[in-house]
Symmetry: C2
Subunit: 228 residues, 2 copies
Amino acid sequence: LIVTRELTKVYAMGDVQVHALRSVSLTIRSGEYVAIMGPSGSGKSTLMNLLGCLDTPTSGAYYLLGEDVSTLNDNQLSEVRNRRIGFVFQTYNLLPRATALHNVQLPLLYAHRVSRAEARRRALDALQQVGLSDRAEHRPRELSGGQQQRVAIARALINNPDIILADEPTGNLDTQSGAEILALFDRLNELGHTVILVTHDHSVAARCKRVVQLLDGRVVSDELNNAS
Amino acid sequence: LIVTRELTKVYAMGDVQVHALRSVSLTIRSGEYVAIMGPSGSGKSTLMNLLGCLDTPTSGAYYLLGEDVSTLNDNQLSEVRNRRIGFVFQTYNLLPRATALHNVQLPLLYAHRVSRAEARRRALDALQQVGLSDRAEHRPRELSGGQQQRVAIARALINNPDIILADEPTGNLDTQSGAEILALFDRLNELGHTVILVTHDHSVAARCKRVVQLLDGRVVSDELNNAS
Ligand SMILES: Nc1ncnc2c1ncn2[C@@H]1O[C@H](COP(=O)(O)OP(=O)(O)OP(=O)(O)O)[C@@H](O)[C@H]1O
Ligand SMILES: Nc1ncnc2c1ncn2[C@@H]1O[C@H](COP(=O)(O)OP(=O)(O)OP(=O)(O)O)[C@@H](O)[C@H]1O
Ligand SMILES: [Mg+2]
Ligand SMILES: [Mg+2]
């Protein structure tokens, strides 16, 4: 499903080079449940942005569903991002002037495949799944941090994507709300969705079936979770 | 030091009223080390914004260092915010077009009490304390989530404030970086600073001397930590 070959990302800052990702080669099959861990600044979000086709590598290759992503044109890339991938950003990236309901509907409206009434119905359902039915009309600045995070999660799931990429999805959630979100991801994985989570929380990683550790832009460990 | 009496915050959303905080009465003495916990949406950030003089209550009173905050004029309020309180926001609130170094210096330059050279020196020192000496020239979007969080922490500490209010300061940090930040807060508390942290992490709350639990905008528990 996902194959990266020596994926590298270097940022040039004046005469200094920041090696955010160094030659990462990973294979993730359809239906896997993977946790990506590592210190702050080790390259996790950089990797997620590349896997989500939101960024392009400096060198190396990324094959998604058998296709070399670098050969896809803009329309094909945006089709993949909208229909095959659900992305939960570390900083949510909600539209500040749209309500929670509208933010969640956006991927559906963009895909042009459901009526406005159906998009609204599905968005309300997604909000209910993350415990936010009574916050549908709030705008992001009228929501708590954890509520904004949950809106971002609902939005990522609305198109029923094959692959869910979630960057620290429980970072701002208490144990109970976090457990509800993880139970949701568990269910989606049981239904066959591929789930890749970045987390700093060992108890979150323990629920995944495989843990990949990054350090300074490299993969330093890639182990199956025996406990699960 | 800090006394709130029936502090209440209600948001009017059309004909619905959101009771973010309901009649919270708390006393926090100088030098205390308090953790504030509670579910997502329970009113923690709302309370922190009131304590930090960033917002005003709908009703109730807030006495800070013996003064009724509602009687202070804008200049006095901004003086308190700048010199007595260090605030780490849940969403960092860094200036997007300023470097990490400049973001950290801002409270010092605003206080007009040190030279630019001294402000720069102290900001570099603060960045070093949070492990980011080599990221001084990066702008927020050139920093990882946890690095942005640490810049926000360094900025809150630069004026050596009496009171540190930190809203989820380790939410985006791995165990190691989080431990370094908490060790920094422990040291500041030993030096006499009052530290109030919002956290969802029980292991973070365990290091504080007192834990206040919120639920639906009310204080439901307020206990000393026997372990410490
Ligand atoms: N401007 C606003 N208008 C309407 N409701 C608001 C506004 N700001 C916050 N709220 C509501 O007030 C409640 C408390 O919000 P607050 O941000 O204090 O929660 P919190 O405890 O910090 O949550 P989290 O742990 O998710 O950060 C939430 O239910 C939120 O939806
Ligand atoms: N646009 C950029 N320009 C320069 N350096 C960058 C840029 N974006 C990221 N970096 C650097 O690349 C490194 C990896 O960043 P990344 O966001 O992937 O880390 P991360 O593992 O997600 O960290 P965290 O756990 O703190 O979110 C960091 O050291 C960061 O400073
Ligand atoms: Mg990150
Ligand atoms: Mg909050």
